[in-house]
Symmetry: C2
Subunit: 172 residues, 2 copies
DNA sequence: GCATTATGCTTCAGCACTGAGAAGCTGTCC
DNA sequence: GGACAGCTTCTCAGTGCTGAAGCATAATGC
């Protein structure tokens, strides 16, 4: 029998024990970090399992979803949006192309650049699975009330922007 | 010049555009998911870069930190704590052993089981780098006030436990 | 007590992705 | 109009981890 206690797909850090060498502010921040990592990992595991039913990774789904909601995009734009490496975006688009879900189109005004665009098959797939996927996420989040979700979102947006080195209220 | 727009080390999903087919509750949950993923990715990138200065991955650091704060642990315990696969824990402990930071000890009462324990070198390393690491995390979180951190932590704990399939207020 | 089932760790092939480098294209500044 | 900095994409070797199978040991049922 295989053991493999379903690993939550993402590594979560050090659930903090009490370390007397830390001041209370630091210890509290560390606890938040641990809790955030675990929540993220647990929800990611569900989201990942959901798209895996259709033979997709989360990164692939992210690309499909972006193209579905925004139309054709330059590879570089997609890359920034789903946060993968430059090599990664090429690799992922290749794979989606091989699956017949995405196609590359050349850019008329800049011959270095290429667009990624959904094929009809890709559009149909996203239209089919996106609502279910959204429901999976929503169900995971629904354990806290909407106004709490709103507050958490505001706080985490601040954390995320600061950590990513962005201005506090950038447009994009 | 290499381009490689520093990928935040973790894949973040689909920043939601407005999809009229979704009800507002779902759309809001989805936005939270995106924001949480990005915040997590950004902070992870910083944490990861911090431990990378010492030639460690976050998973390795997680093991060292757990052993430092709790003493020797069975491999299976460590595995559950840092959320890696069964194969992963063997692999990681092997690598830490090769670096001379961790050693395996056999268990007196169950000859299947093995303990992982810090060596002197490992203990010294954690003692050296843990405070800095905690400070890096704390700095990232410090952009929101302590009481807000507390609220976010409470909310996310609920989300994490529910998504991981645990009871709402389990002890561990 | 002996089969059966469960548990703890290991092995190993495989996979998703990174990151450094390179090739091609564009615009700009002499 | 040529050099060159700066993008955009692609290549590919390398990495860190997963997950299924497997071995050894322990616990349980009969």
């Amino acid at each position: 029998m295989a053991t493999t206690t379903r690993p939550q797909h993402d590594l979560a850090p050090h659930p903090e024990a009490h370390d007397p060498s830390l001041d209370e502010h630091t210890a509290s921040a560390l606890r938040l970090w641990v809790i955030m990592s675990r929540a993220q990992a647990a929800v990611t595991a569900q989201a990942s399992a959901d798209v895996a039913r259709h033979g997709l990774t989360l990164a692939e789904f992210g690309i499909l979803e972006a193209l579905y909601h925004r139309g054709p995009m330059l590879l570089g734009e997609v890359q920034k949006r789903i946060l993968v490496s430059s090599g990664g975006i090429t690799f992922l688009v290749d794979r989606l192309t091989a699956k017949g879900l995405v196609e590359r189109r050349s850019c008329e005004y800049d011959r270095r650049a290429r667009y990624a665009a959904l094929t009809d098959k890709g559009t149909a797939l996203v239209a089919e699975i996106f609502p279910e996927h959204a429901a999976v996420i929503a169900r995971a989040m629904a354990v806290i009330p909407p106004e709490e979700q709103q507050q958490v979102a505001n706080s985490l947006r601040t954390v995320g922007r600061a950590a990513a080195g962005l201005p506090s209220h950038s447009a994009e």
